[in-house]
Symmetry: C2
Subunit: 387 residues, 2 copies
């Protein structure tokens, strides 16, 4: 179903460069459609959004984009009026280089918070970039990587159209805050208002259910561009494909979280409602004691009960609670079963840990995506950011 | 103000032993008053409370205790009817050994979840323990230690009375879930109903503002006994002393959190209300990225803004937000200041990090207590619990 290697929908191309923000790694990328695309986006809910997010919220209201320009290393957050001016200069430089207008360019920045963007380097760096545009989404993915261990791009066909995802995940930036940037491009023809509705619906069950460390970046951005070059498409098929690819990308990001060695997937069924299911699933993937249990492949299942039980405001019936780890029933009627410890240890030693909790109090269901907690997380994040 | 070494109020004594739950370290302690004491307690809010918590909630309703008996290594959580029976047997054995009735004995257990309590070992181990009672609270503190790096006991005089705290903190149990057990004893004469009110008021600003890793144990217990042997006392003085000692013990527990090398104290002022101040202060001490920043003595102050800003439901005015790290102003009007990085690094390298945030939107104020996040947390918690 997914293309290997990933490819672009009709009319999309990308380029990436080192413009001197980092010593040598790529630190700037553009994504561009050859015609105007309907567009929608969701942004971080953090109260201290980066300047690109503040401007992006305005830009996206028109529902039309031609290009995205992204730099890493400096996030342009908590930079005041000057930060906003830098976003406009970056959009203007990208628009000039790519032959469009600044109000059709979405800007993203990711990296250190609170320091000014080296805007001249970016302006100079965008000059002539159109000559380097290629049709391989991995080139753009490479350009937005920070400490991601590999570039992240996916694509799949749906009817006559293609959907492509390019994202960066929860690697730190030199080392800094984990930021999720996700760019979705399609040649399906879908009006902006409908894209917006679809995107929110899909993000709600995919990227919004991802947590590496409970910390919400000030720069998180997920945007979708639909340039229509493949014409109209069956909406249900499109929704299904958009969901499948977004879930796949969410898992890719979780598995490559800072210091992560495993994907941790927690599904909660039978909760009082979907909200409670989401809260409990998130509590499980966010619990440091569950995360270290998964890292150590240690079937200390009391920690799982603890992580469920600390959702004080949720409806829990102790004697109705059941849980499985990779198919092994470890909790029955709220009590630890006499499960085969060796079998659970073996199951936990694989690269994916699936926790299933059935609460038996209603119909609410949700899945959350996270990763184990390793010493790699500490060593990446305790280092000086400026060195 | 605090006694050195700590001592007991009139009429209180303790004993501790190894009864064979652990290879050689002490694993059982009793605390006993020679007369009935008014008593009050608060317990974990986890939906999967241990059997001792379920029984303790009933016992404490009478408002009278003579003794506390505590074992470590096995928590007696998620053990069903058998677990409840074991609590009653443990209380009966302690009552027999100490010359009181089971309904005057509070039981605590801390350790692995979901495995049966070795009740026979505990019953045999309590036999004859009265002969070993001593008046040094550190002996009892030693008996309830798990991976705490040192026994935790405090006392101070207030008028003619004494208040003594004995607690275990956020060390893991072989290694298991962090559990907070805190026993407060005084010879002041205070009725149970008033003790209950005072305890809740004080716990609210002290132990409830402590977080090592966001994970809420299924066994947390804080109990106060007032045996009245020193007669009545000025209530305001008592409240002040009870608060001071509980804050001191909270800091002691935070500083000795799993893998911790530093105390992290976050004070929020000027929040919309006290609830929002508490939420934001907790968000700061719970943020893995703030905790690793403190561990690495890295003045990456963007993480502080992130941790404030991710309290979506709180009122934040970006341009009214100010922040200090150990007295250095690092955020002014929502923007990173051009602070002296060397000075902030030096300040962060001390054994206590004080973060002060002033929000400028109201009068809400709160302080939360936590610790840094080190590789020690991972190595303690990723090991097999059963080895």
């Amino acid at each position: 179903m997914f293309h290997d290697p990933p490819r672009f929908p009709r009319g999309f191309r990308t380029a990436s460069r080192n413009v001197g923000l980092k010593p040598s790694a790529k630190d700037l990328a553009v994504f561009v459609s050859e015609v105007d695309a309907a567009a929608a986006a969701v942004f971080t809910r953090n109260h201290f959004p980066g300047a690109p997010v503040i401007v992006g919220r305005e830009i996206i209201r028109r529902g039309v984009l031609r290009a995205i320009v992204v730099n890493s290393k400096v996030s342009n957050v908590a930079t005041g009026e000057r930060g906003l001016a830098h976003v406009h200069r970056m959009a203007t430089a990208a628009a000039r280089a790519l032959g469009t207008s600044p109000d059709r360019v979405l800007v993203s920045s990711t990296g250190v918070i609170g320091v000014p963007l080296p805007i001249e380097k970016i302006e100079r760096g965008l000059d002539g970039i159109a000559a380097e545009l290629v049709d391989d989404p991995r080139v753009g993915a490479e350009g937005i990587m920070t400490t991601d261990s590999h570039p992240k791009a996916l694509s799949l066909g749906v009817g006559d159209a293609t959907i492509t995802w390019v994202a960066k995940g929860s690697g730190m930036i030199e080392p800094n805050m984990a930021t999720m940037l996700s760019y979705i491009m399609t040649d399906a023809a879908i009006p902006a208002a409908e894209l917006d509705r679809l995107l929110r619906e899909v993000v709600d069950v995919s990227f919004n259910m991802l947590s590496v460390d409970t910390d919400t970046s000030t720069s998180d951005t997920c945007v979708i561009l639909a340039n229509g070059m493949a014409g109209p498409i069956d909406r249900d098929e499109f929704r299904t494909a958009l969901t499948a690819g977004s879930l796949r990308m969410t898992e890719m990001l979780a598995r490559d979280g800072e210091g992560a060695t495993k994907l941790l997937r927690a599904t909660v069924r039978g909760a009082a409602n979907a909200t409670e299911a989401r809260r409990i699933a998130k509590s499980i993937v966010n619990s440091p004691l569950v995360k270290t249990m998964v890292h150590g492949a240690d079937p200390n299942v009391g920690r799982l009960l603890m992580a469920i039980g600390k959702c004080f405001e949720c409806t829990i019936r102790v004697d109705a609670t059941e849980a499985w780890i990779n198919g092994q029933n470890v909790v029955h009627r709220g009590q630890r079963t006499t499960f085969d410890e060796a079998a659970v240890r073996t199951a936990l030693a694989t690269d994916t840990t699936d926790i299933l909790v059935v609460l038996g109090v209603g119909d609410g269901e949700a899945t959350a995506f996270g990763c184990d907690l390793s010493t790699g997380y500490i060593s990446e994040n305790a280092a000086y950011y400026s060195s």
